[in-house]
């Protein structure tokens, strides 16, 4: 049984903050099929299209029939824990300072035998539920958990290395003026965040939900205009060392593409808010977050971006907006790489049109801001890297994978 984590005490200022280290990172190219699975929280294995055999580790040919048609497909995640061991003195710095570390060998019901990290409640000889997780080096690893729920399951020491549970952590939601920011803040608070700092740009402007946020225990409104260099730096100077999770809820949606807009002033606003805002936030909060990646129970763990799914494929009706989102998506990959030495997860939450005024004329289905807030929490708890919230986002993802050209043509409606 797992002991529940305790609310962290105040740091001892006489002790050096433990610096983050990374577990071994090298992987074969083919093995990144698992990285993709882990990013989306899926359990996928290679299966031979010739003979149907599941195989693991990643291979270039089927060990049963030598076919090279090994596709990564969703696989049944159940297995049996054959044997376990606890490494007490690993040769690697990351594991050595986290030892003892428990691993095991799991015989999957679908065939392969898998070396996996073990949840503390896994019992030798008992069934386990396998998943791919992203470890602190950002690479996919297998993780075996007991089949059912156990008390304080999410508090397992090894599981917490793979996840970014908001519990006891301090979160900055960068834009509380939007419904998404508001719902994210509320959901994170419900999920046990110690403090949710909510950034408010232009505090002299009233906004919907202001009263609601002001009335919440543990929610603290702070002045933050992400598009403004000084405002972002000033806030980071105040609370940068206390931001364990940053949720970038910058939202600047304006309809229109190129030809039906005159000039660049709206585009400039889009770039200002979304792109430069991202850069300001990254430069102000990224370095300290990266430094605090191993700073105890409330170490900094994750950066979340709420992005339009049209970052992946341009929707001409909101064409310039789509482009600003694509730019942010690209930045997120850059930031992911730069935060990686700190073990900070970079999660992108892709949404379709949200049920807000800017998508008023767009037919349903639309995503409720509350659903996005809840997705942020569940993604953090599961340690995901990519989430698709709502039917539109999921459909765009699938259509893009199926045929990008068909998607491009069909988005031109």
């Amino acid at each position: 049984m797992i002991d529940p984590i305790e609310p962290p005490r105040r740091k001892n200022p006489l002790l050096r903050t433990r610096l983050p280290t990374s577990p071994p990172r090298a992987r074969s190219r083919t093995s990144h099929g698992f990285t993709r699975a882990a990013a989306e929280g899926r359990f996928m294995l290679q299966r031979c299209e010739g003979c149907g055999a599941f195989t693991y580790p990643a291979r270039e040919a089927c060990p049963c029939c030598l076919s090279d048609a090994l596709a990564f497909v969703d696989a049944p995640p159940r297995g049996l824990l054959l044997a376990e061991t606890t490494a007490h003195v690993p040769s690697d710095v990351y594991f050595r300072e986290r030892a003892p570390w428990r691993i095991g060998l799991v015989k999957m019901d679908c065939g392969p035998t898998i070396v996996a990290h073990l949840h503390g409640d896994c019992v030798e000889g008992a069934p386990v539920r396998m998943s791919f997780q992203l470890d602190k080096s950002g690479q996919a690893v297998t993780f075996a958990r007991p089949e059912g729920e156990t008390p304080n399951m999410a508090d397992d020491k090894q599981w917490r290395e793979m996840t970014a549970d908001p519990r006891f952590r301090r979160v900055l939601v960068t834009n509380g003026r939007s419904a998404i920011g508001r719902e994210a803040a509320l959901a994170l608070k419900v999920a046990g965040a110690k403090t949710v700092f909510v950034g408010i740009a232009e505090p002299w402007r009233p906004f919907a939900g202001e009263k609601l946020l002001q009335g919440q225990d543990g929610i603290e409104l702070v002045s933050l205009d992400a598009a403004d260099e000084k405002s972002t730096r000033n806030l980071a100077a105040d609370i940068g060392g206390k931001v364990d999770i940053l949720v970038n809820t910058t939202e600047y949606v304006r309809p229109g593409g190129l030809l039906d807009r005159e000039g660049t002033s709206i585009a400039r606003d889009e770039v200002d808010q979304a792109y430069l805002g991202f850069i300001n936030l990254a430069q102000a909060f990224g370095p300290i977050m990266r430094m605090r990646g191993a700073d105890g129970i409330n170490n900094s763990v994750a950066w979340v971006n709420i992005l339009s799914v049209y970052a992946l494929a341009n929707w001409p009706a909101f064409g310039a907006y789509s482009a600003s989102q694509a730019a942010c998506l690209s930045l997120s990959h850059c930031l992911r790489a730069e935060l990686r030495p700190g073990g900070i997860k970079m999660m992108n939450v892709f949404t379709g049109p949200v049920d807000t005024e800017w998508f008023q004329t767009v037919p349903p289905p639309k995503v409720a801001p509350r659903a996005i807030g809840q997705a942020v929490v569940s993604g953090l708890k599961g340690g995901l890297e990519e989430m698709y919230v709502g039917d539109v986002a999921e459909e765009i993802r699938q259509r893009l994978a199926a045929n990008p050209k068909a998607l491009e043509r069909e988005l031109d409606r």
Binding site: P24, A58, A83, A87, V89, V115, S137
Partner: protein, 392 residues
């Protein structure tokens, strides 16, 4: 498909067992250690470097070098060359290949050599870059290296067959006793079963004295035809039989037996001997539990009887089952790929009567085995050889 009858190793001999004494850490390169071994081979055999016309090399720490680079490095002009990256099975594999090369007269004198250096960081780097499956699917899991992988195998084996740590410990304790007679062994203090049991855990159930100590060193021997040895006036041991097997029993969910079990009948039949006939046994002892497994798989007892076997026998030099007489890797040290050679070279000295302080009286018939390459969840490579001294 039936396996065709193999050609006997008639007239194939091994000579000039060479050990370059090990050190825990070395600032020299693997090339230096291999160079020392080649130099010792030449000196011991009384031949010129140019007499060596075949070379077989194993090492983990040569960097970008393989056998070909070493020919120029050491001024060798050979007509047969091999590099064998089979870890603990490298010595048996090298012997097999060299034997066939000299038998077919592709070469006359093959130098088989293995050596590794051990810088402060080289063991970790070897672990990190061991194999693709290891890199993808083992090392990122606690980075326990072979300790954790064998811990899983050991735990399963011990549970399946009711083996206790005290049973396994007998092997380590006996080898330490042997090592105390070997001036080159890195372990120089006695080890009691109590100390063995009380050792700190490394990766349960593997504890400190289940583990080998990585070190630097080199081992070598020559393979030739008996008429070559005779013309050089070299004492030589006759090769009677060998086996080699890779990725055996792939369907076993966990490893409880090695590839020897597939080929053991052939090993003894080709040699024309029974397990009982052997005077000494040199197993591959990266972990004592693997040695116990070999006692079973090499036919000294049945599967699951390894614990009882070690309880019933004295494994020391003067015992009824002299085993790993140098002290084995557990007590001498594991000099990388040279660890594969350790038992074979010691066995060779034993049957040639040149083992000195570790000499077993009247040792003439020896079995040496190899085991290696825990590529993913199990050791993949296994091999064994039986050879006899001059008196037989």
């Amino acid at each position: 498909m039936t396996t065709s009858l193999r050609t006997p190793y008639d007239g194939i001999v091994m000579a000039a067992p060479v050990t370059i004494p090990y050190v825990r850490y070395s600032i020299d390169s693997a090339q230096w250690w291999i160079g020392r071994a080649l130099s010792a081979l030449v000196a011991q055999a009384g031949i010129k470097v140019s007499d060596i016309d075949g070379l077989c090399v194993s090492s983990f720490t040569l960097g970008p070098d393989s056998g070909i680079g070493l020919t120029q490095h050491f001024g060798l002009c050979v007509r047969w060359l091999d590099t064998i990256p089979l870890g603990g099975a490298s010595a048996i594999a090298a012997l097999r290949k060299a034997a066939r090369a000299v038998q077919a007269r592709d070469a006359d004198i093959v130098a088989c050599v293995a050596g590794d250096t051990n810088h402060v960081d080289s063991f970790r780097l070897t672990l990190e870059n061991f194999s693709r499956f290891n890199q993808d699917a083992v090392y990122p899991y606690g980075a326990g290296g072979a300790n954790s992988s064998f811990a899983l195998i050991a735990r399963n084996y011990m549970r399946a067959f009711g083996v206790t740590r005290a049973d396994v410990g007998r092997i380590a304790v006996a080898q330490r006793a042997n090592a105390l007679r070997n001036p080159h062994a890195l372990m120089k203090t006695p080890l009691s079963i109590e100390q063995y049991l009380a050792a700190r855990p490394i990766s349960d159930p593997i504890h400190l004295f289940d583990c080998v100590m990585p070190c630097a060193g080199a081992e070598a021997f020559l393979v030739m035809r008996d008429e070559t040895a005779a013309s050089l006036g070299l004492p030589a041991a006759r090769l009677l039989s060998t086996i080699e097997r890779h990725n055996a029993f792939a369907d076993d969910p966990m490893q409880v037996r090695g590839g020897w079990a597939m080929d053991i009948g052939e090993l003894y039949a080709m040699a024309g001997v029974k397990p009982d006939d052997l005077d000494i046994v040199q197993t591959y002892d990266d972990y004592p539990v693997i040695t116990m497994m070999q006692f079973e798989d090499l036919g000294f007892c049945g599967k699951g009887e390894g614990a009882e076997f070690v309880r019933q026998h004295d494994l020391t030099i003067d015992g009824d089952f002299p085993h790993n007489t140098s002290g084995g890797q557990l007590s001498v040290g594991q000099a990388g790929a040279a660890g594969a050679y350790l038992g074979l070279v010691e066995g060779l000295r034993q049957v040639l009567g040149t083992a000195g302080p570790t000499q077993v009286r009247d040792a003439d018939l020896c079995l040496a085995s190899g085991f290696g390459m825990i590529n993913y969840d199990r050791g993949l490579a296994s091999g064994a050889a039986i050879f006899a001294g001059t008196s037989r």
